[in-house]
């Protein structure tokens, strides 16, 4: 087993192990949050509208689903992909896998910023769990930048 082995020869500077751990843990937290929101999307209407909050307003808005699929599910797939790639890096030590995961993070950030815009200016209600997702996707983006900065320009 090659857990935690890195191909540092292909990197301009070694990747700090803590950054990769943080990357994996945060992507898992994002996955938990997005999975919860997906489950809420399907189970929520029967559970009702809570006394405080805008989550119901956000989650039932037409922007909460694309083609009948809740956007939270896309989020869950995104976070799971990043998580699995992070774990695969720990398993194989292949820096390319980590770089690929880091390259995905701008997508998550752009999606989260778009949802923030919708919540603030279109739906006019903020959903706590969506804000958590904005936080995790921002952190992943920053960690992705750190990880990418460790790679040499020739690394693909």
């Amino acid at each position: 087993m090659e857990i935690l082995r890195t191909q540092s020869s292909k990197l301009s500077t070694p990747i700090h192990k803590g950054s990769v751990w943080a990357f994996v843990v945060i992507s898992f937290l994002g996955f938990l949050d997005a999975t919860f929101l997906t489950a809420e999307h399907y189970l929520g209407p029967l559970l009702g509208c809570p006394i405080f909050g805008g989550c119901d307003k956000v989650l039932i808005s037409p922007y909460s689903a694309v083609g009948g699929i809740p956007v939270a599910m896309f989020g869950a797939v995104y976070y799971l992909t990043v998580f699995i790639l992070g774990v695969a890096y720990f398993d194989t030590g292949r820096a390319r896998i980590l770089r690929f995961a880091a390259n995905l993070t701008p997508l998550g950030l752009i999606a989260s910023l778009w949802f923030l815009y919708l919540q603030l200016f279109v739906i006019k209600a903020l959903c706590f769990y969506c804000i958590i997702s904005l936080l995790t996707s921002t952190l992943l983006f920053v960690l992705g930048l750190i990880i990418r900065s460790r790679f040499g320009a020739d690394m693909t």
């Binding site: 999975t35 559970l47 009702g48 006394i51 909050g53 119901d56 307003k57 039932i60």
Partner: protein, 219 residues
Amino acid sequence: MEKKIKRILFWFGIIVLVGGAVFGMIKLAGRASMSQTALLANAISASDWIQGNKDSRVFLVEYSDFQCPACKIFYSFLKDIEGKYGDRLQLVYRHFPLSQHANAMLAAQAAEAAGKQGKFWEMHDKIFEGQNTWASQGKSDAEKTFTSYAQSSGLNTDQFKKDLSSNEIKVKIENDYKGGIKSGVNATPTFFLNGKKLPPPTSYGDFENTIVQAINANP
């Protein structure tokens, strides 16, 4: 060989972790977010809106918000329940307009104003059926929509408009709301069956079963 087993165990652990996380989140989303032991604080009174058999010993009290999408879903469930078991239970509607729903209070006032002219339930139905229309409207447009419902129900619209903003109606709705708070209502719809708070039903079948059991226990 040992390396291979370690890798298999490692990935097996990851699969279990992800599977467990999905299961846990589904459970969390579907859990009873409300206490199930709470009791109805305010007994049924003459000021309540009641459908069904008023002599029945089975009574289902609903705390509801006209603008809540879940309440609209339960509105159709309750229509069905009333059709099937209306002769064996009492259905009570109480207002619990949530602050995040801009037109919920106005909708409750419209139902009460119609009630003043003996058409509470008719207006109640129209409001739920038209939820998608008025929920996204501004206050004055929503008021026009409710007035058009009053007109189509054959109500005196001048009187309706007067009652719509009457203090008496606002106080009645607030009393319903306060009674809900006292009974531990923290989401809509919340149901009390024979005074006991029901856990949030997970399906119509589940909801119907609970009611049928109560009916059978109180013939």
